[in-house]
Amino acid sequence: MNTQQQPVRTLKRVPRSPGYWQDVWRRFRRKLFPMLGLAFIGFLVIVAVFAPAIAGTKPVVCEYKGTLYFPALGYLNTTWENPIFRVDKFRGVYPENLTKNDPKAWAVWPLVYQDPYRRVRANEWPGLPAAEPLMPPDRYHLFGTDPAGVDVFAKMVHGTRTALVVGFISMGIAAIIGITLGAIAGYFGGWIDSLVSRLIEVVMCIPTLILILALIAVVERPTIWHMMAIIGFTGWTGIARLTRGEFLRLRNTEFVLAAISLGIRRPTIIFRHVLPNAMAPVLVPITFGIAAAILIEASLSFLGFGAPPPNPSWGTILDAGRANLSKWWLVTFPGVAILFTVLSYNLVGEGLQEATDPRLRDGRA
């Protein structure tokens, strides 16, 4: 016997073939408009997160009486603004009071000294004139002022948060419900499928806008969270249907059968093996849903039933423009913002659809 060992043949490393998601991203990336849409959404996210640092009247960071504070966080949650400023009778006006009470104090200010909730008075900020109601855009008020003298730019910047949060939270709720129910219905089939499908049909019949109007009448203090919950709890049907369809298709594929024959627990199969493969087409109705939710919020605010005042919202600014038709800046800026945001989401949704749907992508590529 030849005891001499055969030299091990060195294997040539083959580049790993791209995974499904990588493939989707590769295809998505090639398209110009979906990418522009994605970039715009990214820009909005940045604006929303850094809104208090972009426009505001509270310092982003300041040192006052030897301690560091972040008063601008008060825009996100009022209790995050340290009570020391209230005790020291700042009353919302920082620039003058900071140095008056502590000559050594320093502060980093937002890019634009304007407030989304109130009119800036004279002598608040050196060289900044008092805001008057309905001023046209100038170098102090980039987008003009509204009928109460509040800066429209500041309102727009802070309103971005409302617009994005409404879209993400409501569609987040819808996605959780829709994917779970759709997955269960599609995977198990039979009477569970029938039951869930009927439920979907029932929920589809509920008119969201009217439900929200009814809620506003019933709830003592309706907030934007109520609105998001309703949009979420009624908007999951499309997602559920698509998920169910995907699961019906994938349930009988080889890898699922293999997983079942290996004795893997059902929840693991559903959520670890099937779901990631079913996700791509489901993302499409979610992106469209976000756009729809933003429109619902804006139209409710436009009708005066939206986020309760003084919450800044693009729709509210539009509403002010309705009563002051000659003040073009009240209509143009929020209108364009809503248009571009909704358009971006729709472009991203469409891009996703083209990148994930084999019929669309192969036909066009």
Partner: protein, 650 residues
């Protein structure tokens, strides 16, 4: 802007005519037992309450013979006034500070300019030749009238329409002094015990169909208004304070009151129906609008006033023409000839459309919004044909604090209410948001009015330090460092309700911002008007923004500040105030009554059940050819002579 008009409806100066009710009708009135019988017999289980017989609003009453009334009464004569005559005399004693020529090119951009224009345009003609007797007055109303029937009035449009087409026994002038209208009344006497009023009517006034206006029309109208089957909207309040109204002959009508009160005179002025038209028809159709006869009446009403309906297009326009049989009788002029040949009411719901109409000359006058006053009426396009005037009305706006709210137990404490009043940024509200066109308010009665105190309190000014001191003293401190005051674990956070409206939202936002500065969280809560009204009625609120219009007499404020009264939404209670209200009702001397109401004003100011904010200003755009806009605390129309003082120059 909100519920102010409800008070206004009580005491409108609608001049109206009348007829009485005969004994026959009284006999026909069903007895209470007859009415309730069916509900007892129904087979279905009926809630216990429904079984108890419903008492009709009007209890039967047998009026004593006239001789007995006369013997007991010890009559005191009441004033009979020709209101236009009174106004003309007043204007003669107070010469204008500017002439029409002087103000014709003047822009109304300052207080002085406004006073000059007001003065010049308030004048009456110096000679009959000054008046264009063939003129048309194009008025606009915001909504179509509900009905031409005078007892069914409820909206401002209805009142404007009735003001031109009907007469009434009692009117009041620009100082809210009541009098009997000389157009219809020959004599007015009040008994010494103040329980009976006797009127003798003139015999030269006819309905537009030629039948005379008699005392029976008045007594009949009373029966109709008090009939529970008739859906009366506004005019039953006040009228229901009357015990009975009886016509002794065609010209003599006597009003029996339930109690002796200085306010009795206001209950007499209900609208008058033509008895010969409604006598039989109203029993078969108590709605007064659906039967064939009543539909016919709606399109061609029989009226008692100076104008009659020439044509009417629903939701579009109503054209009135001067009624010759009103001012002429047997070939003689017995009343003032109305100034216009035609009055056209156009229904214009959108105020921008109305303003376009005013600028083009299609409309002769309109009520402007503050925005329109400030921004859209300054150019040559407006001043070419028109001018504008403004005046303060006795309509105040305020925040009501609910002193018995479970969720917001803060406002029962006087210190807290004072702190609220000190916190509000009045400068921002009045100077910026309200364009410096409104006056600050410091209590229920307008400064200088006969019922306001002589030592009138000064309006609150913002003083945040004082507000914080008061809150600290009341025990509301920020103990947990979250920026909001609290006490015994209860956080100082409440909802401020207001009617959903972008203007009101701006006002309320000033209050929210002010309170935010002193560590009080105020959440804005816009509501639909009927929901707001319901919440106020049920006392289910913490604080609310609202306004009260002024009645012609201050006794109506008892309903607002008296303990347990109907519109005392904030559950304010002060035994001293209650006592003074009772005293004032029994005091017949106007000056002494004024002093009592002045005391009430001062107590209310000290107690701050409301944070008073401002008096409303009314803005009018008028065609330069029109004259006679003399302002009362209720505007240029709703008093005596009001709209009948307006004329068009040659």
């Amino acid at each position: 802007m909100s519920y102010w008009f409800r008070l206004g409806t009580l005491l409108l100066v609608v001049p109206i005519l009348t007829t009485g009710c005969s004994k026959k009708e009284e006999a026909k009135t069903p007895a209470p037992t007859e009415k309730s019988a069916p509900s007892v017999e129904t087979a279905k289980p009926v809630p216990a309450q429904a079984e108890t017989p419903k008492t009709p609003s009007l209890e039967p009453f047998t009026p004593p013979p006239l001789s007995e009334v006369d013997a007991k009464a010890e009559w005191i004569d009441g004033p009979i006034v020709d209101s236009l005559d009174r106004l003309t005399k007043y204007l003669a004693e107070h010469p204008p500070i500017a002439t029409i020529e002087e103000v014709s090119s003047l822009r109304n951009d300052s207080k002085e300019a406004n006073e000059k224009i007001l003065s010049a345009y308030s004048q009456q003609p110096k000679a009959p030749g000054d008046v264009n007797w063939n003129a048309t007055w194009n008025r606009c109303i915001q909504g179509d009238i509900n009905s031409v029937n005078p007892v069914l009035i409820s909206s401002t449009s209805d009142f404007d329409f009735q003001g031109a087409t009907s007469v009434g026994l009692i009117g009041f002038d620009w100082e809210m002094r009541p009098f009997a209208a000389s157009e219809i009344v020959k004599s007015w006497q009040t008994s010494k015990d103040r329980l009976v009023d006797k009127f003798v009517l003139r015999d030269d006034l006819t309905w537009s169909d030629g039948k005379p206006v008699t005392a029976h029309d008045i007594a009949f109208s009373f029966q109709v208004i008090m009939d529970d089957n008739v859906p009366i909207r506004a005019v039953r309040s006040g009228t229901d304070e009357l015990r009975w109204v009886h016509a002794y002959d065609d010209h003599t009508v006597v009003f029996f009151h339930k109690a002796a009160a200085a306010t009795n005179v206001w209950n007499i002025s209900f609208p008058i129906l033509p008895k010969h038209i409604f006598e039989t028809s109203y029993k078969s159709d108590p709605s007064l609008v659906t039967s064939k006869e009543h539909v016919a009446f709606e399109s061609k009403p029989v009226v008692s006033g100076s104008y009659e309906v020439a044509s009417r297009k629903a939701q579009n326009e109503i054209v009135l023409k001067r009624r010759e049989s009103y001012y002429m009788h047997n070939g003689k002029e017995v009343r003032d000839k109305p100034y216009f040949e035609t009055i056209r009411f156009r229904v214009v719901t959108d105020s921008n459309t109305a303003l376009l109409g005013l600028k083009s000359g299609d409309v002769d006058e309109m009520t402007l919004s503050a925005e329109q006053w400030r921004q859209q009426t300054n150019g040559e396009d407006f001043y070419k044909k028109n001018t504008k005037i403004r005046d303060v009305e006795w309509t105040s706006f305020h925040v009501i604090w609910n002193m018995k709210s479970d969720k917001a137990p803060f406002f029962s404490d006087l210190k807290v209410r004072q702190a609220m009043s000190y916190a509000v940024d009045y400068d921002e509200l009045l100077k910026k948001i309200l364009y410096d066109l409104y006056e600050p308010c410091a209590g229920p009665f307008y400064k200088g009015a006969w019922m306001a105190p002589k030592d009138y309190p000064s309006p609150y000014k913002q003083d945040l330090d004082k507000a914080e001191e008061l809150l600290d003293a009341a025990g509301w401190k920020d103990s947990d460092g979250d920026g909001i005051r609290d006490k015994d674990g209860k956080v100082f956070e409440f909802s401020l309700l207001y009617r959903s409206d972008p203007l009101l939202e701006r006002y309320c936002n000033v209050i929210r911002e002010s309170l935010d500065k002193i560590g009080v969280r105020c959440n804005l809560s816009p509501l639909e008007f009927t929901v707001l009204q319901q919440r106020l009625n049920e006392h289910q609120f913490d604080a609310a923004f609202g306004g009260w219009g002024s009645g012609a007499d201050p006794f109506t404020t008892k309903n607002i500040y008296g303990t347990g009264e109907g519109r005392n939404y904030g559950s304010y209670s002060n035994p001293e105030v209650d006592k003074l209200f009772r005293e004032a009702e029994l005091e017949f001397d106007r000056e002494k009554r004024g002093e009592i109401y002045g005391k009430i004003h001062l107590i209310l100011y000290a107690d701050q059940p409301y944070t008073w904010l401002y008096w409303r200003t009314a803005f009018y755009g008028i065609n330069k050819d029109l004259r006679g806009y003399f302002m009362s605390p209720r505007g240029p129309y709703h008093y005596g002579p009001g709209s009948s003082a307006i004329w068009r120059a040659q």
